[in-house]
């Protein structure tokens, strides 16, 4: 395609950022665009004659550059597949692929711009009042509305852009805003503190960087142009060792306790600051008149940026509309750049005075006082400005048409206080100081002075003097009512819309925001927040402070999700024997973060080998807590329902942890290793929360106990089966005889040369030992046991076999067989609750539960044949659910389906018939209160 032809740039000037010797090229909609190093995408496109940058959200109106400062929604484009990029702050890079958004087939000819013609048919609240009758209508309309919604297109096949690192840093003083105020604050604060200066531009200096008017900042020094003052300030910052400068960095969030979220080009910095100086400046507001969104209507500071930073001539003939002296500076800049200024239109009733107006008069720029632009003529480009005289803020009299191709507008300067307001209220939070134009400073000298004061205060220790409260800016800018007088550029909301919404009863600013969606678009209210408050005040007769403002929420500027996510780290946890399982061809299963062997082939065969010979299972995932200290018995008595202070050394007891209300949180074994030392196991998934739970109950008490999570330090293998003793005997000198090492006892000793703790327990219902040992010997221990058991037919077993075996014993798994309302009483474990203990966590709830009797109970059941329900199948009575199966399997012992289920207490009796809904059919089963295997519990004690 043909190259976009670039107009020649203005003469070089020290304020410009472009390097004319470094030419680069990128593509816009497939057409090559010439740019210079230092250009932004937008400045290059504008120089190449592009005027329409985007199509608006609702009406698809053409939109051009407005703020040229990364604040408004008008210049959003797609860059290399990334949607909604602000082209006015995105540096031009060679080879980048820039495309437009929200327009089809092209930016210039967007079919959906027909919506603009229907504008009068789509007043505020349009969707609330349409398409809902009949019901079918919404079903038809909604997909269409959905299809035309959205702005940028995202490529769903693109990868997660990696690379954003997260940094957690601290600084004594953070200064937000690198303009003259911020720099002054940083320099002053640096006299006593480490300072971080955060600025969102590539170069420090704020708007002073491109200010050519003279300033006398220091009384004794000769006045010099703003950009030279800025350069001097920047030089001082650069030579201050104690100031860290973060350029191109947006402080997007102010969180609790002075935590600043800062987005740099490649990092998310979480900077906790002792004190913060907000030197965030002010935001020039648009004026509100018909057609104020046409391409060619821009903020006067936007036009100045084009001229001063990029040497781009914004147009041939300009009308400058202003409500403050800012417009005078813009008119002069334009005039000096060779733009004919057809008129400077000042809405204020009296002629302005001062150096700038004098200069404007000297330049013979025609000035109309007490006038306003009431209409921008044109469509994709401005053709003319219609100007009318104002009386009492209302346009009257003759409409004067001034031909022009740009209209520069300058409303009030609103304090850029959104970051401060994120703290919730209108008050400045503790240890935060505001300085400069955000705090109402009227000129550079004042701003610099406030900056110095704020810096000194922030670096000091005591004085909490609030800095100058922000003085409300003068409200000279009139808001003209019209259906195309836009208040909100993001959402296409006009003054007429706002007025109507207020008329309909949405008369406080919060409901007004939600009904009209004003302030809710990508600009975050930066362009409209003040206007909507003023219009609301006018319509309701309230003062601005009564109207208040909407809540300011982070982030201040949109932040990519990849930056927030950082380098996502969800590691898979593998046990120290993981490689052995893989070598054995185990089928692995994910259990939370853990990956464990589900089976090594046949769970049924594995079960049989445990019952008949010997099996080993890797139980390293068990949560393991080491509890020490003189008060550890007291701690355990407090958190467990059972008694552990009375447990003798070397003994093990099953323990249940309950929540305050008596419901089961977790279970496991508690082994007393010494008077002041216990070794505790928890379910695999709960160990972190149980550790927290212990510490929660110690906090603020004088219990002296130390809880250490040793889960990943220890590996564990359960050796179980009739030949377990013989197998293990080959590897240790510990007396493993029935009387020498009895059930529910523990011993410490050496196994296969590794110091270990042996727990004689019987989760699977056989003679067995849980061997806990340092994790680094995992593979060694596994191999040693497999070798030792070879003659006895040892086989490893997986999770599924363990589930079958324990189910045959009726041993529960917390979380599988119990849920958040289960107590030890209805889970058939009343024996773990020691009501005689004076107190323990959950006692109150359990006493109440005992007193009122049970409604449901966990029971065993058996099928008539090999039918096996799925875990979770409902127990039904006449089609209604009355209970549920929690675990069900085929029993290798009885060859029938069996399991555990919750049933109403009246059915919890031996032999009662129940119906289980299996795949849509009701299948009979029988309640059984005895375990399928070894109901007398002899095997595990042998």
């Amino acid at each position: 395609m043909t190259k976009l032809k670039a107009a020649p740039r203005l003469d070089p000037h020290p304020t410009q950022l472009i390097d004319r010797s470094a030419s680069i090229e990128f593509a816009f909609g497939g057409r090559p665009v010439q740019a210079f190093e230092g250009d932004t995408v937008a400045s290059a496109l504008y120089a190449a004659g592009v005027r329409t940058f985007s199509r608006s959200f609702k009406y698809h109106r053409p939109r051009g550059l407005l703020c040229v400062a990364g604040r408004c929604p008008n210049c959003l484009v797609n860059v290399d597949g990334v949607p909604n990029v602000r082209s006015c702050t995105e540096a031009a890079r060679p080879g980048m692929n820039v495309t437009s958004q929200n327009a089809w087939p092209s930016l210039d000819r967007d079919i959906l711009s027909v919506l603009d013609r229907f504008g009068p048919l789509m007043p505020v609240g349009f969707y609330y009042k349409t398409f809902h009758r009949p019901k079918l209508f919404w079903r038809l309309a909604q997909p269409i509305i959905r299809r035309v919604a959205g702005l940028g297109k995202i490529d769903v096949d693109s990868a997660h852009p990696a690379g954003y690192a997260h940094q957690n840093l601290h600084t004594d003083v953070a200064v937000v805003g690198g303009g003259a105020t911020g720099i002054s604050a940083a320099l002053s604060a640096n006299l006593g503190a480490a300072v971080t200066l955060i600025d969102d531009s590539p170069v420090l200096g704020g708007h002073l960087r491109f200010d050519t008017t003279s300033h006398s900042v220091v009384p004794s020094v000769d006045p010099s142009p703003g950009f030279e003052v800025a350069a001097e300030l920047v030089r001082q910052v650069r030579s201050s060792a104690g100031i860290t400068v973060l350029s191109n960095s947006v402080a997007f969030g102010l969180y609790e306790d002075n935590l600043l979220g800062v987005l740099t080009t490649d990092r998310l910095v979480k900077r906790r600051a002792g004190r913060i100086v907000m030197a965030t400046g002010s935001i020039e507001q648009p004026l509100v008149f018909d057609g104020n969104d046409r391409p060619g209507v821009m903020l006067s500071s936007g036009a100045q940026r084009l001229v001063r930073l990029y040497g781009v001539k914004p147009g041939e003939t300009a009308v400058v509309a202003t409500a403050t002296n800012e417009g005078y500076a813009a008119a002069l800049d334009l005039h000096n750049a060779g733009v004919r200024v057809a008129a400077l239109v000042d809405t204020r009733p009296e002629p302005a005075w001062g150096a700038l107006p004098d200069a404007v008069r000297a330049a013979e720029i025609p000035t109309l006082v007490s006038h306003a632009v009431t209409l921008a003529e044109g469509r994709a480009e401005v053709k003319a400005a219609v100007v009318q005289k104002l009386e009492g803020g209302v346009p009257i009299g003759e409409r004067q048409r001034l031909a022009c191709d740009i209209i520069c507008m300058s409303g009030n300067l609103e304090p850029a206080d959104a970051l401060v307001r994120q703290s919730g209220g209108l008050d400045i939070p503790k240890n935060v100081y505001a300085a400069g134009s955000v705090a109402g400073a009227g000129n550079l000298a004042q701003a610099v002075d406030q900056g110095r004061q704020a810096g000194t205060l922030a670096a000091g220790s005591s004085s909490e003097l609030p800095l100058a409260g922000s003085s409300p800016p003068e409200r000279a800018a009139p808001f003209l009512s019209g259906k195309k007088s836009f208040v909100c550029f993001c959402e296409d909301i006009s003054t007429a819309d706002i007025d109507q919404a207020i008329d309909e009863g949405f008369d406080d600013i919060q409901t007004l925001k939600r009904y009209s969606t004003v302030t809710m678009g990508p600009c975050q209210g930066k362009m409209c927040h003040a206007a909507v408050a003023a219009i609301s005040a006018r319509a309701t007769g309230k003062s601005l402070s009564e109207v208040g403002s909407t809540t300011s929420r982070p982030p201040l500027q949109p932040v990519p999700m990849s930056a927030l996510a950082g380098r996502v780290h969800l590691p898979i946890k593998r046990t120290p024997m993981d490689r052995k399982h893989i070598d054995l061809g185990a089928k692995m299963v994910d259990l939370g973060p853990w990956r464990r062997p589900f089976s090594y082939g046949s769970p049924q065969d594995e079960s049989i080998s445990v019952r008949e010979r010997v099996g080993i299972i890797d139980v390293s995932t068990l949560g393991k807590l080491d509890v020490r200290g003189p008060d550890s018995p007291a701690l355990l008595d407090k958190v467990y329902t059972h008694n552990f202070s009375g447990l003798r050394n070397g003994r093990i007891r099953y323990g249940v942890l309950c929540a305050d209300n008596g419901t089961i949180m977790d279970d496991g074994t508690v082994t007393r290793l010494a008077d002041d030392r216990y070794f505790i196991t928890t379910t695999s998934g709960n160990v972190e929360s149980i550790e927290e739970w212990f510490k929660w109950w110690m906090a603020g008490t004088d219990i002296e106990a130390y809880v250490t999570n040793v889960t990943s330090g220890f590996a564990a293998i359960n050796v179980a089966g009739p030949k377990a003793r013989e197998t293990l005997s080959k590897l240790t000198d510990i007396d493993l005889s029935t009387d020498g090492f009895r059930y529910m006892r523990s011993k410490e000793g050496v196994v296969a040369g590794v110091p270990s703790v042996l727990l004689r327990i019987g989760f699977v219902g056989e003679t067995g030992w849980e061997v806990h040992f340092p994790g680094e010997f995992g593979e060694h221990m596994w191999d040693a046991l497999m070798d030792a058991g070879r003659d006895f037919g040892i086989a490893p077993f997986g999770l599924e076999a363990q589930r079958i075996l324990r189910l045959e014993k009726g041993h529960i798994i917390v979380g599988q067989d119990t849920d958040i309302v289960s107590t030890p009483l209805d889970s058939d474990m009343e024996w773990v609750v020691r009501f005689e203990k004076e107190d323990f966590i959950g006692r109150g709830g359990l006493v109440a539960a005992r007193d009122r009797g049970l409604t449901n109970k966990l029971v065993g059941f058996r099928m008539r044949d090999g039918t096996v329900p799925d875990d979770g199948d409902p127990i039904v009575d006449r089609g209604q659910p009355i209970g549920k199966v929690t675990s069900a399997r085929l029993s290798p012992t009885i060859g029938k389906g069996f399991g555990l289920a919750w049933v109403p207490v009246e059915l919890a009796e031996e032999g009662r018939n129940i119906s289980i809904r299996i795949a849509g059919a009701d299948v009979p089963a029988t309640v059984s209160l005895t375990p399928v295997y070894d109901s007398e519990g002899k095997r595990l004690k042998e």
Binding site: K135, V156, A159, D508, P560, L564
Partner: protein, 405 residues
Amino acid sequence: MLQLFRKERMWEKRPLKDRYDVVIIGAGVHGLSTAYYLGKLGVTNVAVLDKGYIGGGGSARTTAIIRANYLTSQGVLFFRESLKLYEGLAKELDFNIMFSQLGRLDLGHTDSSIFGLRQRAEINQLLGVDSRMVGPKEIKELVPAIDLREGKTLPIIGALHHPPGGVVRHDAVVWGYGRGAARQGAEIHPFTEVTAITQENGRVTGVETPDGRIEADTVLSATAGWSSTIAKMLDLELPIVTHPLQAFVTEPLKPFMRTSISSANLHVYVYQTDRGEVVVGGGVDPYPTYSQRSTLQTLESLAGHALEMFPFLGRAKVLRQWAGLCDMTPDYAPVMGRVDGLDGFLITAGWGTWGFKAAPVAGRSIAELIATGKTPDLIEPFGLDRFRKGKLVNERAAAPAAAIH
């Protein structure tokens, strides 16, 4: 269509009277829906008071997911009725609440989460709620953009699909009920804070506000996250702990997904609105507080977990984050009805993360209770006395990702 161009007021400002039949504390979706259904039952001398603006509490912060795929039969029956009411609500209120029934997927990444989802599917089907288990292939058909790669932590192995679930324009529900209630005669008084509740001989007699004392036969607290603070005015301790829940929304993107998706394992849920924004929310934060200030830490984890499912969203930009308050009960089920020993006082609370979806049926049921004096069967299981009687309702599946404490 004509009403489009009529400037009709939604509700009028009226002077506060010193007596009403019913005073409702809280002008959120629950308070206003109760007022609306009271009007339908002929009870119109009603004032709805709020310390802030209309619909400004939980109703302003909800992510407005509507579904009925709960776990307990009590919960399923209750939310099934609510879903049905939502389906007819735009017509009922003559206000488009933009209920987009684009379906809902609850993902399972582990054996145990699949177990939980299966239980819900079974109960749902038994009780006539459209929901069933689907595998990765069907998940991909429903949400082509989702990342189903295997071999990463928490792979997606199945999901509970609930086709009638969806998303509603939450403010519209609030305003629709408010307008409907006001048209029937109820008064809405925003910025009218209740500072005390008056009682005589064990009977609640009215409320006090900075604008004066108001008498009422019945006082209903419909204040969700602030319920404990209202109860405290009556020295009543509720089994409720208020936790914040956070969410964020991105800049609008062209539509790439329809179904809303939740993952309990990843503590995150994601959907795209009709406007194109992507909404991401999570489980409640693990600490109790009444602060509604959002945190960077939660924003990071929500974003990270959403990218596990949709890696390309790394390029999407977060526009806004916010926090709301959730009044959590120990059994994740609501508390509705009378309070023993306090005649004339009713409560609708414990709305946790499931309040908005219940508003129509909850409001209608409470209204019926107020108007007839009889507790409707649907809300009978949710009485406050269940905590004394030990009849808890295990609705843990209610929260997409509940905190352990």
